[in-house]
């Protein structure tokens, strides 16, 4: 088990910069999720840690050692791939045992460790099958067992759940979290799915265009997004963002929205953000602003109300019994303690002093 440190790492392919001057410290035993849309450099970052890509510049450290010049086999990391990366001609047992075989673990001892790893991911009965005889979920378990069969310094997981169906994804997600908790191995996990990031991570690094936009705990990223990108990327349905003017601690937007922000120093164009669950529906005139119902969607545990206020369209989360016809005028109440303000030019978050 070890710390992983990236120091000013850049990866370029010709003129394209995949990862830009990135620094990141993953603490010993930490579950770090790299989250971002496709093409943001998260997988490239992980592959550089694994040794499958070479950084153009910068240092990568695992524990106390700089590993830039080490081949993957000398880095003592284990990796789970999006498309499993199993060995199709080997049985499940041989797949799981391959890292042990390469390390000279023999006979009965190897068998014992294979069985222990297989038992941890509930694969015990399938050891003699070939990968092609397994379902997608079972194949990913084989890949997991192969990763945990030896105790590597670092686990690397590249979107391990994205080829599984929705139901299996939820249960496997919990299993991965439990495994990591049990083994306490430093883990870097790449995903574009914000739910996976929120549920699994100790800390999340939100990435975009080769840069880390915010690195923090899931709570902090959800409650205090550092910029507009993070604010829009995290949360489902996404945070409401309204364009307007900010001066003397008051935000105003066309359509009658006014909100006190407790931020004195800033004036100029700004974006006000508020999450749908922090917007409540009230009778017309009783809220912070009036809006006209655009659509009402029942999700099961709640109702999503989309309402038009001036040019802005806001989503509110209402009680699941709430109903209204489109066109009805309603009031919207914003939770003043949960407002987010962003500078419209820099896109950065503005914090109260």
């Amino acid at each position: 088990m070890a710390e992983v440190i990236l120091r000013n790492v850049t990866k370029r392919w010709g003129g394209f910069v995949a990862v830009r001057d990135q620094s990141l410290t993953v603490k010993d035993g930490e579950f770090m999720v790299l989250l971002g849309p496709s093409g943001c450099g998260k997988t490239t970052t992980m592959r550089m840690v694994a040794g499958l890509e070479e950084p153009t510049s910068g240092d990568i450290l695992i524990g106390p050692n700089r590993v830039n010049d080490l081949p993957p086999r000398e880095r003592d990391v284990a990796m789970v791939f999006q498309s499993y990366g199993l060995y199709p001609h080997m049985t499940v047992a041989d797949n799981i045992g391959y890292p042990l075989k390469l390390r000279g673990v023999r006979g009965a001892e190897r068998q014992r460790q294979i069985e222990a790893a297989a038992a941890k991911v509930e694969l015990g009965d399938l050891l003699h099958r070939k990968p092609r005889e397994l379902s997608g979920g079972q194949r990913q378990r084989v890949a997991l067992a192969r990763a945990i069969v030896r105790r590597p310094q670092v686990f690397l997981m590249d979107e391990p759940l994205s080829n599984l169906d929705a139901k299996l994804r939820v249960s496997t997600r919990a299993e991965i979290k439990h495994l990591q908790y049990e083994l306490g191995v430093t883990t870097i996990y790449v995903t574009h799915d914000q739910i996976e990031a929120m549920t699994l991570a100790h800390r999340v690094a939100v990435m975009s265009q080769g840069e880390i936009r915010q690195l923090d705990t899931p709570e902090a990223i959800y409650d205090r997004p550092a910029d507009l990108f993070v604010a829009g990327f995290i949360g489902s349905p996404p945070m409401n963002l309204v364009r307007g003017e900010h001066a003397s601690g008051v935000f105003t937007a066309a359509g009658g929205l006014r909100a006190a922000t407790r931020i004195a120093g800033h004036r100029g164009a700004a974006m006000l953000g508020i999450r749908p669950e922090d917007v409540t529906v009230a009778p017309a005139g009783a809220g912070d602003l009036d809006a006209s119902v655009y659509a009402v969607e029942l999700t099961g545990d709640s109702v999503l109300v989309t309402a038009q206020a001036g040019e802005a369209r806001l989503i509110a989360k209402a009680d699941r019994a709430w109903r209204a016809e489109p066109g009805t005028t309603i009031g919207l109440k914003l939770d003043a303690t949960r407002l987010h303000l962003f500078d419209a030019d820099t896109t950065r978050r503005l914090n109260p002093e």
């Binding site: 081949p71 086999r73 199709p88």
Partner: protein, 276 residues
Amino acid sequence: MSPARRRKLLWQAVESAILLGALFLILFPILWMALTAFKRPVDLFGLTFLFTPTLDNFRAIFAHPWNIGHTLLNSFIVAAATVAISVPASTLAAYAFSRFELPFKGALFFTILATQFIPAVVVVLPFYLLFRDLGLLDTVYALIVVNLAIVTPFATWMLKGFLDAVPTESEEAALVDGATRLRVILDVVVPMIWPGVVVTAVFCFILTWNEFLFALILTRDDAVTLPVGITRFRTERGDLWELIAAAGILISIPMFLLASVIQRHFVRGMTGGAVK
């Protein structure tokens, strides 16, 4: 019978006739060779399928002065050695071309193919002089070297096609699991493209087995291979057709066997289950 149906039947009849004609053109010479191989010289030019079969021709070609057994052995040695050297070498070359970023990769790869465009007659004399100076004329070593030069570029191209079709995730998994690059190739890559390796090896074997021009120029007695050996049955007494046919059967048998191997491996895909 409706006109449409009648037209369809007519067309089918024409189709069948064409196919039967083509089949006859291809199979009849083989059948004729097979029959001739078992005929006595007196039956040779009788256009009949009724004759007393004999194994005398096969006995004759294996006996003095023809000693076809030695020729057969030469053919086997040359073909087997060529395959044994060229297939592993081409696998490594094709892997490098398929997976690595190399300077001038495209030009290099094309050059490999370009060597195949040179007509054999252009290089056969330089080869003759070369091997004469090296004292390797009329040895299987010379033939192996020449056949390697013919077969290896071909095998590299063929194997690269198979390698390009295999996803790289399993290889990367093996690298991270602790394997060296060579180990990855042996443990993971080769098993995944095994059908391709077998098919390539078979093609290389057939190419070498049938090679005529170089064998004709570079050998005289000791290292003569079957295709050249057959020409010896054209003697001053005339063409010994019954012996030519018997030797023809010997040449063809490995081809028939290998064709069935190819068929089996072409059908089966080995990569199922590696990735989603």
